[in-house]
């Protein structure tokens, strides 16, 4: 390892450097402005790591998985009970999904609490909300693939919810299901989305997201970003020291990945992914419940009229997307953002309460 800006001569590195002239680019990539007070809790990087885990474990699963209503269930059973380490790969994919949704959610939470969505990071935040949506869609489409009773009926209910969207509901339902019911056609659509469309989309969005993060550097949780000097206005230079991205931040990030990998392997081994009876379109099982991250919406739909239960989450997502423009307060210090923080606390309490209620009912 050489200092990033140094040009290497001789040796293998030198051979490639002469032909690629890439050390300048690498040096620039390895330099991100990080104010000493920045505290990311490595959550964005952990989300990225988990995306990598999902790509690898998912590609492996696709080698044995068969995306048809006749064969899907048996192929998943085959992976779990016949293929060497099949149970492990499948369970890692299962827990990787849960941890990824959790880490993306926590990442969003830390951005909010530290006010890193404010000027000039509005676009970083908006691309982040899109990433969050795509991550959730991964969960939704992946859940159907084992084609067991849980998968089938959770998807029946989930797509029914989409069907309740005002005006476009019927068309949306038909488009999602590829017909009137959840069927072989639905499985094919969900499979295509899950293994092709969403991964490409997420990868593209991540590239944009990280490019912006790289260009702007991390936000300081202590000082608002100074705006360029306007006519006559006094400049307010903020002299906060930086800490090195490479190797310090990268090393810490790596350690965080190790911890997550360990947690993943333990969870996958102790609580492996299950498989219920094969899907039967004629028998609805006793308790149809979605994955934990959909429990709040599920519970909301039980206690309010259908249209409200469907429109309310859509409004919530719209508010999230437009947050940097709705919250015009330039302050980043917590005690100077009482409104935003108390609204967020209320929202989180509501979300948790609905989730717990949904899990118990």
């Amino acid at each position: 390892m050489n200092a990033p800006a140094e040009t290497v001569r001789g040796g293998v590195a030198g051979w490639f450097e002469e032909r690629l002239r890439i050390s300048g680019l690498l040096a620039a990539l390895l330099h991100v402005r990080i104010p000493v007070s920045a505290q990311t809790y490595y959550l964005g990087g952990i989300s990225l790591f988990l995306f990598g885990v999902q790509l690898i474990s998912g590609t492996l699963l696709a080698l044995y998985y068969k995306p048809t209503a006749d064969a899907a269930y048996e192929s998943v059973k085959y992976i779990t009970s016949v293929v060497d380490f099949g149970w492990l790969i499948r369970s890692v994919h299962h827990w990787g999904a849960t941890l990824m949704i959790a880490s993306v959610g926590l990442h969003m939470g830390r951005i909010f609490v530290q006010a890193a969505y404010k000027y000039p990071r509005e676009l970083t935040w908006m691309f982040g909300v899109l990433l969050f949506a795509v991550t959730i869609l991964f969960g939704f489409t992946g859940y159907l693939l084992p084609w067991d009773q849980k998968a089938y009926w959770a998807t029946t209910v989930g797509t029914e919810i989409a069907g309740g969207v005002p005006l476009i509901g019927d068309a949306l339902l038909n488009l999602l299901r590829g017909g009137a019911d959840v069927s072989d056609a639905t499985l094919n659509r969900f499979f295509g989305m899950h293994v092709l469309v969403l991964p490409l989309l997420l990868a593209g969005l991540v590239v944009v997201h990280l490019t912006i993060v790289h260009q702007l550097g991390l936000a300081s949780p202590r000082h608002p970003e100074p705006r360029p000097v306007r006519r006559g206005g006094p400049a307010q230079p903020v002299d906060e020291p930086l800490k090195p991205f490479f190797p310090h931040y990268i090393l810490d990030e790596l350690i965080a990945w190790f911890v997550v990998l360990a947690a993943l392997v333990v969870l996958a081994s102790v609580l492996p992914a299950g498989l219920e009876d094969e899907a039967d379109p004629l028998i609805t099982p006793q308790h149809v419940k979605p994955e934990w991250y959909f429990l709040s919406v599920y519970q909301l739909l039980k206690i309010v009229p259908r249209t409200i239960g469907i429109v309310a989450p859509m409004i919530a997502v719209a508010i999230l997307l437009l947050l940097p423009f709705l919250d015009r307060n330039p302050a980043v210090a917590k005690r100077r953002r009482p409104l935003a923080l108390s609204a967020a606390v209320l929202a989180v309490i509501g979300l948790v309460a609905l989730t717990v209620w949904g899990a118990q009912s």
Binding site: P4, A5, L60, V83, D239, P244
Partner: protein, 171 residues
């Protein structure tokens, strides 16, 4: 060195990288440093091993069960009259059953040349491979002409009433 400030865009070399690049004539690594290096290398190698081992295990396809070791009914003598032949599946293995003057015989239908599936040619009364025109003697499986280097391996057959039964070799 002045601490870098938010306004500065210059890349800041990491302190120890700077120390290392200027330390060409540094004394040889003390044992502690060598031990730490070993520890880092060992951790990296075991992590890689831990990730790669299950992946390799997963990639190796599980053994496909054959026909389950039992007998396979290839058909009746009516299906395969004298001087004809038929390719049937024994588990996942193709087998050619021929009815010759020497009796009912069966061979692996996989050509010993490059793996095409042989058939029975009723005009010349040979087992013939369509790929490179290899001819086999239906009575023995021996090569009559063409590129195949070896005879077709025989499969045991038994007649039970008029049913032709293939008996997979044990195992």
């Amino acid at each position: 060195m002045e601490p870098p400030t938010i306004g500065s865009m210059e890349p800041q070399p990491a302190p120890d990288a700077a120390a290392r690049s200027s330390g060409r004539e540094a004394p040889p690594s003390p044992p502690r440093r060598r031990f730490l290096r070993f520890l880092v290398g060992f951790s990296a190698a075991s992590t890689l091993g831990m990730i790669i081992a299950p992946i390799v295990g997963f990639l190796i396809p599980p053994r496909t069960q054959g026909s389950g070791g039992g007998r396979v009914v290839a058909g009746t003598l009516e299906d395969i009259p004298a001087n004809t032949g038929k390719v049937v599946a024994m588990g996942s293995a193709p087998v050619i059953v021929v009815n010759t003057e020497a009796g009912v015989k069966a061979y692996s239908a996989v050509c010993t040349h490059l793996g095409c599936i042989v058939g029975f040619d009723t005009t010349v009364r040979h087992i013939v491979c369509p790929c490179h025109d290899g001819h086999f003697n239906p009575a023995s499986g021996a090569v009559l002409s063409g590129p195949p280097p070896a005879p077709l391996p025989p499969i045991a057959v038994a007649l039970e009433d008029d049913e032709i039964v293939l008996v997979p070799s044990g195992g």
